[in-house]
């Protein structure tokens, strides 16, 4: 198990290198003048100044040199400051948010992480539970109902549910607001007494003992979570159901029954752990999707996460910000894949020991 994890960890730098090369290649689609905008807050109007920037950052140099500069930046030996260098966290300057891209990610990502944290349960585990129930009652009433219910969720575009839920729960019933926090609680969070241990609002609220803040944060996340869950249940249901049906036909399930185990133990102790192997992959993708920012859901509910920021950058052709997000997403994907691989080993001893 330990060697397995170490071997997987050794792959991470290789994959990261691949991601940077790919993003760098995308950057080359832009002209040197366009790329020069990466490095400055205020783009100069006169041509001379632009050329100066191009020369200063080596944008007319050979590709490998540019790549290296892009990675580590350049050190200004006079003032001893570093310019650029994604390895040092300089992802360029975001025009649309008027902050460096790295700062934008740092301020938005905790919100996305918070949402992901609370959405994992409803999205994944409820989906799996539905799939198991459908398989156990194959072709029965529960199976049909679960399948029809979830297929509706997948069939409609996300924003339809988003708008529908806003219409019902916010506009009509006035139960659940969009956004991140009510203004009064936002002030609490930004005040000095409220200590930001983790930067996740729900967790920090609990750690500070402010249950009112916690509850308000949860209320704001309820509709996005509901939307995200409903659109993904069908996928989980389908994969879990077919995997479970296949497992229930296996000989070892008959063995378990022949041993005299109750149907409950046969299903949950013998069949389900085997049926989870393909679901782990799906769950991994799902978490990557959530962490990378759920663009439409965040936009519809005006939730200030990575997704809504990326959407704004994309609509305003803010290439620098988009590339920054792309790089960040690549990083998340690699880390999540690592987690999925480790989870595989936990679920399936054959992976662990081979």
């Amino acid at each position: 198990m330990v060697t397995f994890i170490i071997r997987r960890l050794l792959l991470v730098p290789v994959l990261l290198f691949g991601v940077t090369v790919l993003i760098f290649a995308m950057l080359q689609l832009l002209s040197p003048i366009e790329r020069s905008a990466l490095y400055v807050k205020d783009f100069p109007k006169n041509e001379k100044a632009v050329e100066g920037i191009i020369r200063q950052y080596g944008l007319d140099r050979p590709l490998y040199e540019q790549y290296w500069r892009w990675l580590v930046g350049t050190v200004d030996t006079v003032n001893n400051v570093r310019h650029g260098g994604i390895l040092f966290g300089d992802l360029g300057y975001s025009r649309t948010s008027s902050t460096p891209v790295a700062d934008l990610i740092a301020s938005r990502f905790p919100n996305t992480l918070d949402l992901t944290l609370w959405a994992i349960g409803p999205v994944i585990f409820v989906g799996i539970w539905l799939g198991v129930q459908a398989a156990v009652h194959q072709n029965g009433l529960i199976d049909q109902a679960a399948r029809i219910f979830s297929i509706i969720g997948t069939s409609f575009p996300t924003f339809v549910f988003g708008l529908l839920f806003i219409l019902i729960f916010y506009a009509t019933l006035e139960w659940l607001p969009p956004g991140r926090l009510a203004d009064e609680y936002m002030q609490v969070v930004n005040s000095d007494e409220f200590r930001r241990y983790t930067t996740l609002i729900t967790i920090d609220a609990l750690l500070n003992g402010r249950f009112d803040v916690f509850w308000d944060a949860l209320k704001h996340m309820f509709l996005p979570i509901l939307t995200l869950s409903y659109i993904s249940w069908a996928t989980f249901l389908r994969v879990t159901r077919s995997s479970m049906l296949e497992t229930l036909r296996m000989e070892y399930v008959t063995t378990a029954r022949a041993k005299g185990l109750s149907e409950h133990d046969v299903i949950y102790k013998h069949a389900q752990p085997n049926a989870m192997i393909p679901v782990v992959t799906l769950a991994g993708f799902s978490v990557v999707g959530l962490l990378g920012g759920v663009v439409i859901t965040e936009t519809v509910f005006n939730y200030p996460g990575i997704g809504s920021a990326a959407a704004r950058a994309a609509t305003q052709l803010d290439v620098v910000t988009m590339l920054g997000f792309a790089l960040f997403n690549g990083f998340i994907l690699i880390v999540s894949n690592l987690a999925v691989d480790i989870l595989y080993a936990v679920v399936d001893p054959r992976v662990r020991l081979s």
Partner: protein
């Protein structure tokens, strides 16, 4: 017959399929005496496994269904028991070993965990007691370093060793009956012999009755005292092993025996094979199910299905023809 441990009468099992109802078992009756080993022989799909699975209520339903019959075990009808009642018989008093040891153990649970389950469930052992007993069981079936091997997973065992584990698991609660459903079919010949020796040794030590399902008459000769020959969901012949091999009376049994290679036989010539295929019965046959493949078939065979009738005290056969003379009985 007195003191029958298991007494099955008129068992019928059907499966619903898209092509219609398949009559898999059609009124099977047999008895199993205490400590006896009963061989059940027949081609694939003749209903031998389904018969035994029906008795234990292990037929997947739907599509399968036991439609008639009774199976008396200690005075109680297994077929009428509720799910909960029969659960306490399965694995405790009647247990089963399956054909393919590669697929009949759960790949994600340790061998120890799978061995402990019936002990905890039926005997009420604590986790630690069950652990100790599991190691003893592994030792009993001849697995070296049993204590260490409890933590291993099935894929770390070879096929023969997995079948040993299956046998250990089925004998964990000292059942009165062990149903072995082709337990040596998936193994190579030397391992087959080892597994049969193991089962014979354990039978002598523990004294359980065994139902040994197989399509291999050689295996039956080596382990069973009495044999049922099945065809098309019917028992077509029932005899002691010696009698069956000396005086096979049903054309199907004769065909099966004729297709065995003999160590004292002549070398030339091909082995005999029965023409045609075993039937899939969408209707309960009114004629003899074997008639289409039978070289003795007469007019009566096409009109009426023969019942199992005694030819001597412990030998019964379902056939209109006296195969010795070639005339009607």
């Amino acid at each position: 017959m007195p003191d029958l441990l298991l007494d099955v009468k008129g068992l019928e099992t059907q499966f619903k399929t898209p092509d219609g109802i398949v009559h898999a078992v059609n009124g099977v009756s047999f008895g199993l005496k205490e400590g006896e080993t009963l061989g059940v022989v027949g081609e694939s799909g003749c209903g031998k496994s389904v018969t035994m699975l029906s008795v234990l209520g292990l037929i997947p339903s739907p599509p399968g269904k036991v439609t008639a019959g009774e199976a008396k075990f200690f005075g109680q009808d297994l077929l009428k028991m509720s799910n909960d009642e029969i659960r306490h018989v399965r694995g405790a008093q009647i247990s089963m070993v399956f054909q393919d040891p590669m697929t009949s153990l759960n790949p994600v649970l340790t061998i120890g965990r799978q061995l402990e389950e019936p002990l905890i469930l039926h005997i009420g052992m604590t986790k630690n007691q069950a652990r100790e007993r599991a190691a003893e069981l592994l030792a009993m079936v001849g697995i070296p370093n049993p204590k260490d091997r409890l933590n291993d997973y099935p894929h770390q065992y070879s096929g023969g060793m997995r079948q040993r584990v299956m046998i250990a698991m089925s004998l964990a609660c000292s059942p009165q009956i062990l149903i072995a459903d082709e337990p040596t079919t998936a193994l190579d010949v030397t391992i087959q012999a080892q597994i049969m020796d193991l089962v014979k040794r354990l039978r002598d030590e523990l004294g359980m009755a065994i139902v040994w399902i197989t399509h291999d008459l050689g295996v039956v000769a080596g382990i069973a005292q009495r044999v049922l020959v099945m065809y098309g969901g019917f028992i077509v012949e029932e005899a002691t092993v010696g009698d069956l091999f000396a005086n096979p009376s049903h054309p199907y049994t004769i065909g099966l025996l004729g297709s065995l290679p003999r160590i004292d036989g002549k070398e030339e010539g091909r082995l005999y094979s029965i023409d045609g295929h075993p039937p899939v019965l969408y209707q309960k046959p009114r004629s003899c199910p074997f008639a289409p493949r039978c070289k003795w078939a007469m007019e009566k065979c096409w009109q009426e299905n023969p019942l199992l009738t005694p030819v001597s005290s412990e030998h019964r056969v379902a056939c209109w023809v006296d195969t010795k003379t070639g005339r009607a009985r």
